[in-house]
Amino acid sequence: MERSGDTFSSQNTSGYRLMIFRQLQQAVESMHRPEEMFQWLASLIVERFDVAIVQFWTCEGRISNQPTAQLRAMASQDPSQPAYLFGDKVTMTVEQLARGQQTIGALAVDRLFPRYLAMLLQRYGLTSSCFYVAEKSVRFPPSDYALAQRETALSLIALLFLRRPANQNLISTVGIILEQAIVLAENRHLLLPAGSGPLATPQEALIQETPALPDLIPRRKQDANLMLSSNPFARTISIADKQAHRLYEAIDGHLNLNQLCGRTGMSLLEVRKALKELARLQCIEIYTPDGQPVDVNTLFNSPR
């Protein structure tokens, strides 16, 4: 039975849905990347629907032996909660959701996730979760290496963690919001139709020759002159940006950016920004999986 003050009553959710859609219509005007939109949506869902953590994932439509799930955006109600911890661990569940028949669901965490993960979530008071899978013939624009070369359709997954039993009404509403957001993003060319032809500009063509961003492997740059001709204790550069520092800590010379996303719990957009900062500080070098060095300037001067 619906109560008048219930956040998830059909009247309330439909009111919020309309309001969010109108706000999104305005906000999307100033956005340049789909991740910005998903981040905006995640933050708003957390705020309006009293959800502890909201994550937006993408998964490639093609059948692959390699995991393709990527965390695109995440928002957390409690900033002190180590939400990024869950990024890496839920990857396999997200893969299964994307490949499964069910496109919508609201379950207790112990019914959706492996036992150890469910226990971890419960320790943080997150007892239930819900998901919505939107299968769309869209790809991310060329400035994102991840999908520039991949013409297959994407599954966009909204994954919500809650402190109380999940409500079917909530996930339906989030699903509708996600579908509307995808349409808006397509209209604004933040998302492009899958198989929409070759990349046009020379710069894009250059990008196409570069392997996908998630496949690239960053390595810590060892200063060849350090201790030889430059004093190691003078004018040391410190990495002030927290995300850049976290990424730098996780770089081991073997993990690619996709794996680092999982390791750090950062979205690809956040990793890209952190990588750019590290490249600016000349702390890293980037290599292809074949071990070929990648020109960092070319990588980050791509069109946005």
């Binding site: 200063d223 350090l226 190691p232």
Partner: protein, 209 residues
Amino acid sequence: MDPRLLPNLLDVSFCLVALFIAVRSFDIYASLRQSRLFILGLSMVLVSLSSAADFTASYVKVIPLHTDWFLYIGQTVGFLFILLSLARSSEGYLRNLMNLNILAFVLLLIPLLASAALPDINPTARTLLGTARLFICLLILVSYFNAYTSTPTRFSLFMCAAFFFFTVDFLITFTQYYVPLVSQYVFRDGGDITGVVGLIVLVAAVSVD
């Protein structure tokens, strides 16, 4: 004058300077993760410990502590890892060197902890280890000289000078055992003074921006 004054002064100075460099290296390594800094830090801990052990052994008379083994091996291995870290700068190489350095450090604690049980260092071992230490120090000097000639910086010049004094110190210390007994003190004191000068230049090198 107390004949142990200069050697003790050198030991204490070496210990404190090496400890200062080690702490500073680890501090910067924590934020920058430059493997070379870790190797420098651990090597300097080794050098610092060896000097501290030598200093302690000269005062502890209850049981004879034969810390010369650790003094020679510790300083030789410490300088060797610094030299090897300067040889190449690829991440994989430095990472492997770091692991090796940690292993060597742990193994070197054995002669330190067992110094009471070890026999006094014999002349052959002293000659071999002294030669190795001298040779490694000379190679570091050559590395810094090469660095200075290719990119002249104040740091490489100071380091070059510091390792020149260390090389001279080790050379004099090495030759003191091959001169008449009366001249040995002159050689040893000369070596110790040269070592202290080397340390002052080393501190200047890492302090000057």
